[in-house]
Structures are given as structure tokens and as C-alpha cells.
């Protein structure tokens, strides 16, 4: 018999094994749900899959009488728009400040402590200030995402910039590069794939802030819906919405990974990190 640590499942087996805990969870849910519903048929806490499916189907197809909009899609587009804009702005700021901080010691000396402190402040706690500064519309929600995500991106990119081998900066200078040219042709292109990677890591946090922002004040959005129907304990809506958000998060993540592989082959097969 081989030692446990030396036993590797086959390819197909891995697939099945991976599915196993999901099946177990599903069965656990079903049995709990059945017990509760047997006791009280009106119980909303653990709805049956069919209830959830029909609620979700309803949300995904029925047009609102007043506006003619379909709830699920309105929510999805509103949320996606916010997260894409928010993360986009963060990425831009992160890239620029990260390059400047990482490449120019004098700027790093100025900004680094500020970024460190900023990254420690829980953005949720300073909401009122955000409202004053950015109003209560889309701007505030996007600002919350930006404030929540940018310090992480800056620190990550700054770290990567500092970890670029000195040899490359020296080499560029021996080829006659000015400071600006070093930033533009050595740091920028090498940090871009790392930005994509960092953005993928930051997406989770971005979703968090998006939902928090939508819980506070919104007229549509995935987080809005969850926090609105929460008062009716409509788990038949909340659970499919959570699954839907998870799926969207997964797809966004994969999209970024795919773009990165396509655009930066040297990064993924080279010495770049393997994550």
C-alpha cells in the first residue's frame, strides 16, 4: 500500500470526487428543507428547489407591469455596470500610482505611508463622508468600490514593481532610457498582466462593497434585491440570487484570466507567478 500522500486520484476520479461534497451539501439541504416544510408548509427559510426555480424563473422572465423591465436583468446590468466601472477606475488608479510608487523612490516615500494607512480604514465606517462627497447616486456606490479596492491594488502593484529585478532597470538605462521611458517601457508593460491578476483577486472585495453599497441606498441591483426581499424572508429569491452572483463572479474572474493569457503569453509561461 502506498502512503496516503502518494496516492493521486485519476483524472476522471478527480472530477467525481470534486462533485461529491456538492452532492452531500445538496442532500443535506434537501433533508433539512423537507423537515422544516413538513412541520410548517408556509415556512420560507429553506424553500424547495422547485419553489426557488419558479421564483427565479419568474424574476428572470416576468416583465414589471409598471416599467416593462425584467427584474433579474435590470438588477444584473445595474450591478455589473457598477462593478465594472468601479473596478475599472480602481485598476487605472492602482496601475498609475503603483508604477509611480514602485518606480520613483521619492514619490514612494511620499505616498507609501498614506496608502498603508488608507488600506487599514474600513470604508464602511466612513459612509456618511462618502455621501457628502459623491452624492447618493451611482457615484457613491462606485466610490465605495474604488475606495475599498484601490489601496490593495496599489500595494500589490507597487510590490510587484519593486520586485522587478534591478537588472532590468539598469539595463534600460544603459540603453539610454530616461526615467519616463523606464516607467513606460519597462514597468508599465510588465505590470499590466500583474494588474489583471491583482484585479481578479480584488473582485471578491469589489462584490462585497457593491452589495454593501446597494444595501444602503439603491433602486435596483443584485444587492438591493437581496436586502429588499430579506424583510419577507424570501429565501426562494435570496438563495438563487446568491448562486447567480457567485456565477457572475466566477465568469468575470474567468474572463479576466482568459484575457490575460491571451494578451500576455510571456507572463503566463514565463517566470511570472503561477497563480
Amino acid at each position: 500500500m502506498k502512503r496516503l500522500i502518494n496516492l493521486a486520484p485519476s483524472r476522471g476520479g478527480r472530477w467525481l470526487l470534486g462533485l461529491l461534497p456538492f452532492l452531500l451539501l445538496a442532500m443535506l439541504y434537501l433533508s433539512l428543507s423537507n423537515t422544516r416544510l413538513a412541520e410548517n408548509p408556509n415556512d420560507r427559510l429553506l424553500p424547495t428547489p422547485s419553489t426557488m426555480a419558479s421564483s427565479f424563473y419568474h424574476l428572470a422572465t416576468a416583465e414589471n407591469v409598471r416599467t416593462g423591465e425584467v427584474v433579474l436583468w435590470t438588477d444584473t446590468f445595474a450591478s455589473l455596470e457598477r462593478i465594472v466601472i468601479g473596478v475599472g477606475i480602481s485598476a487605472l488608479i492602482g496601475l498609475m500610482v503603483g508604477i509611480l510608487n514602485g518606480g520613483i523612490p521619492i514619490i514612494r516615500a511620499k505616498l507609501s505611508p498614506l496608502v498603508t494607512v488608507a488600506s487599514l480604514i474600513p470604508p464602511m465606517a466612513i459612509l456618511p463622508i462618502l455621501f457628502i462627497a459623491f452624492g447618493t447616486g451611482e457615484a457613491a456606490k462606485i466610490a465605495l468600490i474604488v475606495i475599498g479596492v484601490t489601496p490593495f491594488l496599489i500595494r500589490d502593484l507597487q510590490g510587484h514593481a519593486l520586485r522587478l529585478p534591478d537588472e532590468q532597470l539598469i539595463k534600460a538605462q544603459t540603453l539610454g532610457a530616461s526615467s519616463w521611458q523606464v516607467l513606460l517601457r519597462v514597468l508599465l508593460p510588465q505590470l499590466t498582466p500583474r494588474l489583471l491578476n491583482a484585479t481578479r483577486l480584488a473582485l471578491g472585495t469589489a462584490w462585497l462593497f457593491l452589495i454593501a453599497a446597494e444595501a444602503i441606498a439603491a433602486q435596483e441591483g443584485l444587492g438591493y434585491r437581496i436586502f429588499l426581499v430579506r424583510r419577507y424572508l424570501s429565501m426562494d429569491v435570496i438563495l438563487p440570487y446568491v448562486a447567480w452572483i457567485t456565477l457572475l463572479a466566477f465568469l468575470l474572474d474567468q474572463l479576466l484570466a482568459w484575457v490575460s493569457r491571451l494578451a500576455f503569453p510571456w507572463y503566463h509561461s514565463g517566470e511570472g507567478d503561477k497563480s
Partner: protein, 264 residues
């Protein structure tokens, strides 16, 4: 007037004396090879020539002027690792020197300028035998090809001085031989002044016209950092086998293991 000259040059890191009492003058066209035990300060010396490390005391002059305190296009460099840009293809790596020069703002050339840069880069790439790999990225190249690329890149700006820090240290013995031929040819064709660090004494003899051995002349076992290394041997090399006298000198000068190892 010599190209490079040092007088009582020293380098400290805090209390740690790395190099002391360096005196030399180097004429254009020399090929200086540097050997010495690990950690004795060879790379530090090269960095002072590059301008990335400041001198601590004494003088180091280039054309009788204090050496510039940062890297410039007159001094090319090839490191053992990380010498080429991973995000650029072979062509891009060689072209970039030209682009940095001709497009100050974007550092990227277009149209006719670009065609000219490509042309120029291709001839350099041909010289080092990478013409079949123009659009490959460094990670797709073997170690030897990467170092060839680094050399082609470093020579694009026609530097007067070429600094090599163990450029072939990571290569297989066979490939190393080819690189020797290449570097020798380029040195002669372009009339370069070359400083090359190596751990391989045989390589040092094969390529250089002048060999510097870095070693400590004083050593305090209680405070190993109190004294620095200096150039203990500064030997002209002819392309023949080292003379018996030289061997003798080396054997006594702490280079025993090196010589034993590679000179048999």
C-alpha cells in the same frame, strides 16, 4: 590619457570594507577578466563602473572625469540573469534601444523610423545567430540564446565599454564555448573595452588580454569585515597557455582551488 583609471579607490557598506586600495588604468580596447572568491566584491566593482554604486573614497575616472553616478548608454552591460526584457520578443528586445533613442516621448517608433529600427536590429540579431527566432519571447529561448540576445541588445547603442557579470555562468559547457567565440569576435569587430567577471579561470585566460585577481591582502579572523579585497594580481595574458611562473604565483595567492580545478 587612459579610458578608465582608479586611485586608492575604496568601497564600504557601513563598517564593512568591501574593496580597498584599487589602483589601475585601463586603455581602450582592453579585455579585462576579473576573478576572485565569491563575495569578494567583483560585482560591487562592476556596479561602480556602471554608476549604480557610489565610490566611498578615492577616485574613479572615465576619460579623466569622475565616473557618472548613474548608468548611461556609453557603458553596456550583460548580467548572468534578468538581462533581457521578458515582455518583449527577440526583435523587440533589440529594437528597444533604438526606440528609446529616437522617440523620446513614447519610446516606440512607427512607420519609416520603425522600419529602419527593425532593419538595424535584424542585422544585430543575425550577428548573434538568432535570426530564426525573431518573434519569440525570452521564455521560449534556451539560456544560451537568452545571453546572446542580451549581448546583441547591449551592443545596439555601440557602447564604448561592455560590462559582463558572469554572463556564461549558467550555461552548459558546450554552449559556453560558442559564446566565447561570439564575444571574442564582437570585441574585435567593434573595438570594445570589456570587463568580464567569471568564476572560470580557464575562461578568463581564454578571453582576456588582462587578468585581475581580487583578493584580500590583510585578513583579521576576528573581524572579517574590517579589510577589503583589492587587485592582488594584474597580469597581461597572451593567448598561449599560462606560463609556469604564473601558475606558481596563483598557487600562492589563494587561487589554489580555482587553478587546481580548471587548469588541472
Amino acid at each position: 590619457m587612459s579610458l578608465l583609471a582608479a586611485k586608492r579607490l575604496e568601497k564600504h557598506y557601513g563598517n564593512h570594507v568591501v574593496l580597498e586600495n584599487l589602483n589601475f588604468s585601463v586603455e581602450p580596447g582592453e579585455f579585462v577578466t576579473l576573478v576572485g572568491a565569491s563575495g569578494c566584491g567583483k560585482t560591487t566593482f562592476l556596479k561602480m563602473l556602471l554608476g549604480t554604486e557610489a565610490t566611498s573614497r578615492g577616485s574613479l575616472t572615465l576619460d579623466d572625469q569622475p565616473i557618472p553616478n548613474e548608468p548611461g548608454p556609453d557603458r553596456g552591460v550583460v548580467f548572468q540573469k534578468y538581462s533581457v526584457f521578458p515582455h518583449l520578443t527577440v526583435l523587440g528586445n533589440v529594437m528597444i534601444a533604438d526606440e528609446l533613442h529616437s522617440a523620446k516621448l513614447l519610446a516606440k517608433s512607427f512607420g519609416a523610423a520603425k522600419r529602419r529600427a527593425v532593419e538595424k536590429a535584424r542585422s544585430r540579431i543575425d550577428e548573434v545567430g538568432l535570426d530564426h527566432a525573431l518573434s519569440k519571447y525570452p521564455h521560449e529561448l534556451s539560456g544560451g540564446m537568452q545571453q546572446r540576445l542580451a549581448i546583441a541588445q547591449a551592443l545596439m547603442m555601440r557602447p564604448r565599454i561592455l560590462l559582463l557579470d558572469e554572463p556564461f555562468g549558467a550555461l552548459d559547457p558546450g554552449i559556453r564555448q560558442d559564446m566565447h567565440v561570439l564575444i571574442n569576435r564582437l570585441w574585435q569587430e567593434q573595438q570594445l573595452t570589456i570587463f568580464m567577471i567569471t568564476h572560470d579561470l580557464k575562461e578568463a585566460f581564454e578571453l582576456g588580454t588582462r587578468l585581475w585577481v581580487f583578493d584580500k591582502t590583510r585578513h583579521d579572523p576576528q573581524a572579517p569585515e574590517a579589510y577589503g579585497a583589492t587587485i592582488t594580481y594584474d597580469l597581461p595574458i597572451s593567448r598561449d597557455r599560462p606560463s609556469a611562473e604564473l601558475k606558481e604565483a596563483l598557487n600562492q595567492g589563494g587561487m589554489k582551488t580555482h587553478s587546481q580545478e580548471t587548469l588541472l
